[in-house]
Amino acid sequence: MQELIRHTKTINRLLARYGVKFGIYKNGEFNEQLFPFDPIPRIIENSEFQFLEKGLKQRVNALNCFLSDIYGEKRIVRDGVIPEEFIFSAKGFLPPCDGVVPPKGIFSHISGIDLVQSKDDNWYILEDNLRVPSGASYPMIARELQRRSAPDAFSSNSVIDNRNYAELLKEVMDYVNTGGINVILSPGRYNAAFFEHSYLAEKTGAVLTTGKEIVCENDRLYYIDYLGRKQRIGAVYRRISDEYLDPMTFYEESVIGIPHIFEAYKKGSVALLNAPGNGVADDKGIYYFVPKMIKYYLGEDAVLMNAPTYLPYYEDDMKYVLDNFDSLVIKDVAEAGGYGVVFGSSLTKEKKAEFIALLKSEPRRFIAQEVIDFYDLDILDPDGKQVPRKADLRAFVLAGGETKVWPSGLTRFSRNPDSFIVNSSQGGGFKDTWVLSR
């Protein structure tokens, strides 16, 4: 461990050189920040990982069932498990995707599931990210660099090798590939996660492209290389959000998308990872219903719990929320990245009255959750002292022929000691996550 700590500065310097950065938009301005690495790993025992693995696979399988149902028969709405208001008015529900069956029927190939561990040692799901979850590359490269500086630390501590992420990803791409090469579609080098795009392309052997090098012709997708040669594309791991993917179907002004890529996808001649329209399943309002989904589609009880959540949409829940306002955290379902989060106890009297009025006028827009007192992990502060910070874990679940959980993950911690928000868009750093083989 001392060996790892000794090399912290070097590793952070190397990470900066590799361009391991995070872009942050604040007040309309774009700033790039380094994503600080902390050398003290999060350690997950093997038995605990097996439990997480079981729960995560179950959750992602149910979410995939939900997506194929919602863009297909819509049984879960018909059977009254989820009210239709939560589906069709969700920003993530995309009517153009209705009736489209993706290659091999998989919607969420790469899922980033955020969890926290409470002080009583229970794990809770915080949110699901089924659109373009990022972050796997950070622990990958950190591990790679650490192995150079302290190779013994990993074998002597029985840490499971996590360098197989690229292999898992390639497996999924190959599994859904419809005939042709794999590409990673990036918005370009000014994107906040460009490091990740290029790193994953390098590691999986996929071609790193932007929309300008891809054309859609006769419902097939082609990559045009620097000599003007065309190569058929079979799978696109796209790191562009749904709205920008195809200017002919979605946001018309998009210049980073590919005209008619959606038609090629619809006709089954190319796979898109992840499928467009997944936003309906990782909506904060839908989160409440995931345990019900697991029961409905799989006939099982959820292994991993949601944080206790209330929907002001239901009268009973509204009453509970108003009675216990100060102990709850209220989230705006339309916001992401740690924005639109209000802690009931932090509001002044006037603000509180104002917020409650808004809550009453638009109950569908909010969810309320109990504040989970989560487990602190130690980090090394600049003076070399160990201090506690709130931390979460993003687990990566890959769904191809079978659903697999990467034996690692992205552990993020908050920048300030009093903050509960660990989202990287809000500053903060990351740690390596060790899953032990014993």
Binding site: R78, C97, M248
Partner: protein, 239 residues
Amino acid sequence: MFLPKDTQRQKISGVEIRTSNYEKYCVTDDNFGNRKFYGLIEESHSRFDVAVSGEAQTGLDICEEYTVNPYKYAFLKVQTKLTEAGENIKKYRSELDFESCLGAYEKALLVMNTLHNSFVYDSAATQIHETAENALALGRGVCQDYTHIMLSLLREEGIPARYVVGMMIGEGASHAWVEALCNGCWYGFDPTNNKLVNDEYIRVSCGRDSSDCSVIRGKFYGYVTQRQTETVTVEEKEG
């Protein structure tokens, strides 16, 4: 570009597509029930023409039955950016006497009638992507604005409604109107002319609002200004 399709109301035949410098194209059906064709020109060009002609037999029925999964069209009850109801629309709605209406069909008739008589046709008042809320505040606009306002009011009432683009005899441009799902049938309402859609109408495309239905949509790379002209000719055939 959209192609008119056969419906219960109309039969389309002899469709011919002519493009100026491109022979290959693909055809697809989208999830709003439209048919469109599209293609890609890789060579540089300064002009692109496309003409579609054909024959339509109209007025075969007054509505289009719809009996499949009722949730398939639930998204048409949801407002879009262009139809979102603000203060003006909410106020306008509160003044309509929906109480006395028997069902969705009568509500739609009431909206069409009231809107036609209180809104002024003015081709210079509104912009291309005007919202229903703004148009209603101005009190004047074109067929697109009539249609958006009516959609907004119907959706506030929980009635699935869609934007339709098509052609009418005698008009030199495309026209827009509303289709509302009433008792398992899609009925066409034209608030601009205060008419139920009949044999004078040829339907081309439909969607959530005007941005889903523009007859032609395209994208090019280059530093030039573009100009687009559109002509619609509808002639009645003898016999």
